[in-house]
């Protein structure tokens, strides 16, 4: 089952996003709900979620800093009321950039994007596995 963390300094925003995610992607498991940047970074490092939904303006560490510090170990979707950080966010390899308030339709779009990424990830792994198997089988035959 896919896993996610949510980080936002406002409790209402966290519960709002959690509810919207539950509607858009029922099988997604929210493994942590963090209220600042430090917590979010620790959760990414400790829980290895598939995707992290990060607010940009948070105490201690901004969402952008968390994304940079996590070093691409996790897919990132930013949620923020600011539209001015978008370029920096995509430079950091973010999958999507959601501007608050996030509507159900827009979140579903983001979820589809994340899912296709996750799906592509598994497909590619399976493909590589098959190729390796084939290679093993063909090599002796060739010799």
């Amino acid at each position: 089952m896919p896993t996610a963390i949510i980080a936002d300094d406002e409790d209402l925003q966290r519960s709002d996003l959690q509810r919207l995610l539950w509607l858009a992607w029922p099988e997604l498991e929210i493994v942590a709900s963090c209220e600042d940047g430090d917590e979010a970074l620790a959760a990414i490092a400790g829980l290895h979620p598939d995707v992290a939904f990060l607010d940009i303006r948070m105490p201690d560490m901004s969402g952008l800093e968390v994304a940079r510090a996590s070093g691409g170990t996790c897919r990132i979707v930013f949620t923020t009321a600011y539209d001015s950080h978008a370029i920096e966010a995509f430079d950091l390899g973010a999958l999507d950039y959601l501007i608050k308030p996030v509507t159900q339709a827009r979140l579903e779009q983001a979820v589809t994007r994340v899912r296709s990424q996750l799906g592509a990830g598994t497909d590619r792994a399976a493909l590589i596995k098959t190729l390796v198997e084939l290679d093993k089988r063909i090599r002796p035959a060739a010799q």
Binding site: D9, E10, D11, L12, Q13, S15, D16, R19, D36, R57, M58, P59, D60, A81, Y82, D83, I99, K100, P101, V102
Partner: protein, 412 residues
């Protein structure tokens, strides 16, 4: 575009400082007022007093020293010449100018006024000229017999000579230099008033732009959208909290948005209204972030104090954005209004103090603060100031100190 036809300086107001001379004397004092204004006329006439008295004395001496005709019919006429000379000069000096002053009182259009003043001065010259026949220069017919042809010719020649001599003198006395100076001065006044108007509009535009940018900063993405997002979340999880947020947001928008309008002409609003606005704003923030503690203190009698709109809220917004939001855990913000005495003037001190992360984390471009400083400079001409200091307990205190007025003082 407003059409400017008349200089904005009143008929009788002193000239702008740049145009007034600083010399002593009646004549120079006259030049400190618009030419052909009442006050100018009074001073101008006083400047003629000494020459006219001197002329009267000279004429008196001449009347005594010049041998006159024997007592008889020509006697009175001969002695009437001396007061007549004085009268002609005085008329030339005074009549045209006083008529011009009357003309100016009508505040006609510039072209009509100039033409009328020229006519007034010319009328003065002609009136003075009409008095010149009383000035006798000899050639009077001898009583008791008809004048000879030679005598009639001589008398006509005398009158011609009279006119030729008097006419340029009277024109010179009637004030062509005043007329030229008047036209030049009017042009300069017009330019000065246009410049003042341009300056006025520029300042007005700057003030409105300043207000607009303050409001845009608050109402735009961060505050409004975050609040709406919080409200939507609260609808399901905590409807009571959602209602509190919406109520504060309504109060805030209702008190803030009208201050942006251009027709909200007043440069000043009451401190009370600004504090209400601040309370509503902080109410929204507090509902979103329950970790925030808010204190707003103001003596009731200070609520009528006049302050520029949207300045206090700008400081509060700054404190929330740069001090409170980046801080982890409980945070507080104090907004206080105090009256302090500096010499004999009462000053109003508005302070916004937070216990947030302090200057270390300030990442903004400081446009908000520069904006406030510029507005204070423009509105109070250096009598008001904005200062920022780090607090010993952590966080930042921002203070605006400005002269204490009530809105009643400012409006009247």
């Amino acid at each position: 575009m407003e059409k400017v036809t008349q200089p904005r300086t009143g008929n009788d107001d002193p000239l702008p400082h740049s145009m007034a001379t600083r010399l002593a004397g009646w004549s120079a004092r006259a030049h400190q007022y618009p030419i052909f204004s009442n006050t100018w006329f009074v001073y101008r006439m006083r400047s003629f007093r000494a020459p006219l008295v001197t002329l009267a004395l000279v004429l008196l001496v001449l009347a005594v020293m010049v041998p006159g005709p024997r007592p008889g019919p020509g006697f009175l006429r001969f002695y009437f010449t001396f007061p007549a000379i004085w009268l002609v000069v005085a008329t030339a000096l005074g009549l045209g100018r006083s008529l011009a002053v009357l003309v100016r009182r009508h505040r006609w259009s510039p072209r009509r006024e100039a033409a009328s003043i020229v006519c007034a001065l010319l009328f003065g010259v002609l009136a003075a000229l009409s008095l010149t026949p009383f000035v006798r220069t000899g050639g009077d017919p001898v009583e008791g017999r008809a004048p000879t042809r030679l005598e009639i010719e001589e008398a006509r020649e005398n009158r011609m000579v009279n006119l030729v001599i008097w006419f340029p003198v009277l024109i010179w006395l009637a004030g062509p230099f005043d007329l030229v100076a008047y036209l030049r001065q009017r042009r300069l006044l017009h330019e000065a008033s246009l410049q003042a108007q341009a300056e006025h509009y520029k300042n007005q535009r700057n003030e409105l732009e300043a207000r607009l940018s303050v409001l845009a900063a608050q109402v735009e993405p961060h505050f409004l959208f975050n609040t709406l997002s919080g409200v939507r979340a609260a609808i399901l999880s905590d409807p009571g909290r959602g209602i509190i947020m919406i109520d504060h947001l309504i109060d805030y928008l209702r008190s803030t948005i009208p201050q942006l309008r251009a027709d909200h002409a007043s440069k000043f609003v009451t401190l009370g209204s600004q504090l209400d606005s601040v309370k509503a704003y902080l109410g929204v923030i507090q509902a979103r972030m329950p970790r925030l503690i808010v204190h707003v203190e103001c003596a009731p009698e200070l609520r009528d104090a006049a302050i520029p709109p949207l300045m206090l809220i700008s400081l509060v917004e700054n404190a929330v954005k740069h001090g409170i939001e980046p801080k982890k855990g409980p945070a507080s913000i104090h907004v206080t209004a105090d009256c302090t005495d500096a010499g004999d003037t009462h000053m109003l001190e508005l302070t916004v103090a937070d216990d947030g992360v302090g200057f270390g984390a300030v990442t903004g471009s400081g446009i908000g603060l520069t904006n406030i400083r510029e507005r204070l400079m423009h509105l109070y001409n250096g009598a008001a100031a904005l200062s920022l200091r780090a607090r010993a307990t952590g966080g930042v205190a921002a203070s605006i100190v400005l002269p204490l007025h009530t809105t009643m003082d400012v409006d009247t």
